[in-house]
Symmetry: C2
Subunit: 200 residues, 2 copies
């Protein structure tokens, strides 16, 4: 438990900051950020408020750390997609990458997708999310120009619909559930490009 390569748990026993963050994000997702009190969180962790505030500066800091994790993952996926050589590959790569981030970091992304902009931290995160959305819309428009995606549909609407489908995965996907994330990723890509209809 004193760790090998990873210097995870230095010093005395008790709760680590990491545990507090994880439990906080979990609870925020179950009840909503605003509906979750610090007492709720200490109740679940089995410690007092003072002890909790020894690990984190504020309730909002827990949110901030989770949002950074979610946004960092999505931005990295977008950077990867932008390096692809063709418009088709760029679009496919961002769709696959986004689904992978959603399944890998479901709790953090869930928080991001539910933000309302009620504080500076929330509005800053929403601004980063909008930047991501704009770049993805540009990829969609590019795919339309090259004839890969139908053009009888506004690129913004198309992006919102497809990412609406992708993002909704956080509402039901669970890592320990029956759905395999790798299969899901390919299924989403197929439904996004080819739709539900049976091949005729």
């Amino acid at each position: 438990m004193t760790a090998g390569a990873r210097p995870a748990r230095r010093g005395r026993p008790g709760h680590a900051r990491e545990d507090v963050i994880r439990a906080g994000v979990e609870l925020f997702n179950e009840q909503g950020y605003d509906a979750t009190s610090v007492s709720d969180l200490t109740g679940r962790l089995g410690l007092t408020k003072s002890a909790l505030y020894h690990h984190v500066d504020s309730k909002e800091q827990i949110l901030q750390i989770a949002l950074e994790d979610a946004l960092g993952g999505l931005e990295q996926a977008l950077a990867d997609a932008l390096q692809q050589p063709s418009a088709a590959e760029r679009l496919q790569t961002i769709i696959r990458g986004a689904v992978r981030v959603l399944t890998d970091r479901q709790p953090q992304v869930t928080l991001l997708l539910r933000l309302r902009g009620n504080s500076e931290i929330e509005t800053a995160a929403l601004a980063r999310r909008r930047r991501f959305d704009r770049t993805v819309t540009a990829l969609m428009r590019e795919a339309q120009s090259e004839g890969l995606v139908r053009s009888d549909l506004d690129a913004g609407v198309a992006t919102r619909l497809i990412f609406g489908m992708i993002n909704s995965v956080v509402e039901w996907y669970r890592p320990d559930g029956p759905v395999d994330p790798d299969l899901l990723r390919e299924e989403i890509l197929r439904v996004a490009l080819g739709g539900l209809a049976a091949r005729t």
Copy 2:
């Protein structure tokens, strides 16, 4: 102002219950239900808490009325779909019907889709929503059996993906925005069945 056919505004002037509900739902959607205080609401309406409580029994009652509106609309759309003569028409009708309810009652449905189950009213609404989802999944399965929808995809996953796409409309559609709701409805149906890919 004393109304003709509709006995809308009986008695003295001032705010009507209807105004309070509408403003409340609007504010709940902007900030989240839990993040919205009764003071926020009285601030927007320009009256005091006591005056507001003359119109409604509680903050939660505003939520309840909105949820009934959303669920009633979705359940009616489902009843209409179930009366269609073929599986193909039943599936298409519930997709079109759901989109119509989302655009017609965007604020109310938005509240429904964001519920976390933090009170008895919320859990009751979520139970009704799950019942709706189960029936739609049965329609999807039926469409698969008849060869209308590809069967290399679990009916539950397919329903979640398509309704994830449909439901995401509440996040950006606005009645006074640039997107025509009738066109959007047909575009969603086309993307759901045929996907984004250009016809080859």
